[in-house]
Symmetry: C2
Subunit: 333 residues, 2 copies
């Protein structure tokens, strides 16, 4: 590998000049600049990132804390792949790479990695658990953006869907279809999406002048089995609902299964609206009517927020990005 010294020699300039053409090209004479660039291309010179990072403390790498937890082994984000695409694309457009942080090598592994590698920022995508290492990280002053949950810190912000708005829209849609006994299967209220979607459901009920019945709220866990179990509880009610807003698509699929097993039909007997718009939603039959999240938008918004913080160390963190949702009407409501 050609080094900066070798390139400088071949161009007859100092290494300082070569360095400048790569970092502040505008300050160097156009002719020498061109010469340096040309011979760099010819001999295949590439600035070494470790040396750069060592000198500048900027690694041009962003950490991704994606927790494949001990506590919740099989945790899957409903659309990790899409988020990754958005993140990676937006980041690489700005010259940043994504470093997937190993987890589980003991407490505090994340902040250690951040310091050892001089990471410029980090994005969290976790299951909402209060991990002390994450809190410490967010509090430490490195730019952080978290997905799907609020964080606090001097340079931390988050991106989240308009969960309440999406939920409201779903309930209004159900109401528009003539349903009046509208139940919900909520996500865990300790998570922001769980709590906000439930709040949106309640708000819509109030707006529509529908009674808020406690027994119409069943809590699930965002997984299929949880949705199934919650629906069974709902089906045992004396006044069976004629519609249910389910706070996650996987749970909605489980709920539909429970309804079918009970000998009832969707949407005729009970209409169902989900949330997320996972791939599966379009593939089941009938297609799942659901509140779609802007999947790629998560990645893009996270990258944008992160880079804003990285570019201006003095600025306050950008406000949380709230992504609009879209109701996708298919067959279940």
């Amino acid at each position: 590998m050609a080094t900066i010294r070798e390139l400088a020699r071949q161009c007859g300039v100092s290494v300082a000049t070569v360095s400048r053409v790569f970092n502040r090209p505008e300050v160097v004479n156009p002719d020498t600049r061109k010469n340096v660039l040309d011979t760099a291309a010819r001999i295949g010179y590439l600035p070494n990132e470790s040396a750069r990072t060592l000198a500048t403390k900027k690694s041009h790498m962003v950490g991704l804390v994606w927790d494949t937890h001990h506590r919740r082994p099989g945790w899957r984000h409903p659309f990790l792949q899409e988020i990754l695409i958005g993140l990676k694309t937006a980041l690489s457009d700005r010259g940043y790479h994504l470093l997937m942080l190993a987890t589980g090598d003991g407490e505090g592994s994340h902040d250690r990695a951040v310091r050892r590698h001089d990471l410029d920022g980090v994005v969290f995508i976790d299951d909402g658990t209060e991990d002390p290492a994450l809190l410490r990280l967010a509090g430490s002053g490195v730019p952080c953006v978290s997905l799907d949950r609020p964080v606090t810190g001097p340079r931390a912000t988050h991106v989240i869907s308009d969960n309440a708005g999406g939920a409201r829209g779903a309930v209004h849609h159900l109401h528009g279809r003539g349903r009046r006994a509208i139940a919900t299967i909520a996500g865990p209220v300790r998570t922001a999406p769980g709590a906000e979607r439930l709040a949106g459901y309640r708000a819509a009920l109030a707006e529509l002048g529908l009674p808020a019945r406690g027994e119409y709220v069943a809590e699930g866990d965002f997984y299929l089995a949880g949705g199934h179990a919650a629906m069974r509880r709902l089906l045992e009610l004396d006044e069976r609902p004629d519609a249910v807003f389910v706070a996650g698509d996987e749970m909605a699929i489980g709920a539909i299964r429970a309804i079918t097993e009970a000998g009832l039909r969707v949407p005729e007997d009970i209409a169902v609206v989900g949330f997320d718009d996972i791939e599966l939603a379009a593939l089941v039959q009938p297609g799942l009517t659901t509140v779609a999240q802007d999947k790629a938008g998560f990645g893009t918004a996270a990258a944008t927020a992160l880079i804003a913080m990285i570019d201006d160390p003095a600025a306050a963190p950008p406000p949380p990005a709230v992504l609009p949702t879209t109701l996708v009407v298919r067959g279940t409501a």
Copy 2:
């Protein structure tokens, strides 16, 4: 951040000694070793990775080339998330991090990133297209392991499922269920999984003494719509098949849809076996009988192979890892 110099000062030793306790602890006096380790923990010393990499040319980072191509924008690997988990876990157990390589910043971006960051190795997970940058990388001498496709290079190997064996098993299963007119919907034969599964299908036919009819082979593209279209072609045949081995679960779901639309039943009229065992396979109704791949095994095997090459620069690359498959019998065959 405490540096090695600061730590050395506090311990009353030279930086060389401190460096040794972290890199070759066995050569330093147990007492001084303990002292260094203790004060390191106390003052929160962490070796800086950039400085290490600069000095040693080992970054302890492995690149992941995951092509979200221009040529095939929406390309999704059926179980990227699971592979990522396996990879990340196995890698981090050995102290390596995963760097997701940006793509699209022009030709050759991958090999440039590898050189700039002194990556210790790279794993490819792509759609099988012949990307010159990848070939160059594999030929360059950095340890490479590719998923789902063979590669050649001085230090390259790959991990792949026993595609032919899995396909054979599927056809034998169909035969055991009494089916004799067994068709297949193949993946693109330019991909290794596509070609090998087709070969396995043909081998099984021969073993079973069944005729190999050209019109019973329909080529799909691994996507749902392709499977749907291929099945429609098969349904138009004079001698309609009574079973079909579909080389991918998504295509299988599409095929089932086509069968249903034609007013036929699965498995009564036509039995279906898929390949992959994607999440969806267990969720559709009836459940899809399919050849399961060892998802986490991909990541683990890739990490193992990579680390073997990294650890012994002189050794020949390990032979390709061929992962066994498992037939999962559900409702469609």
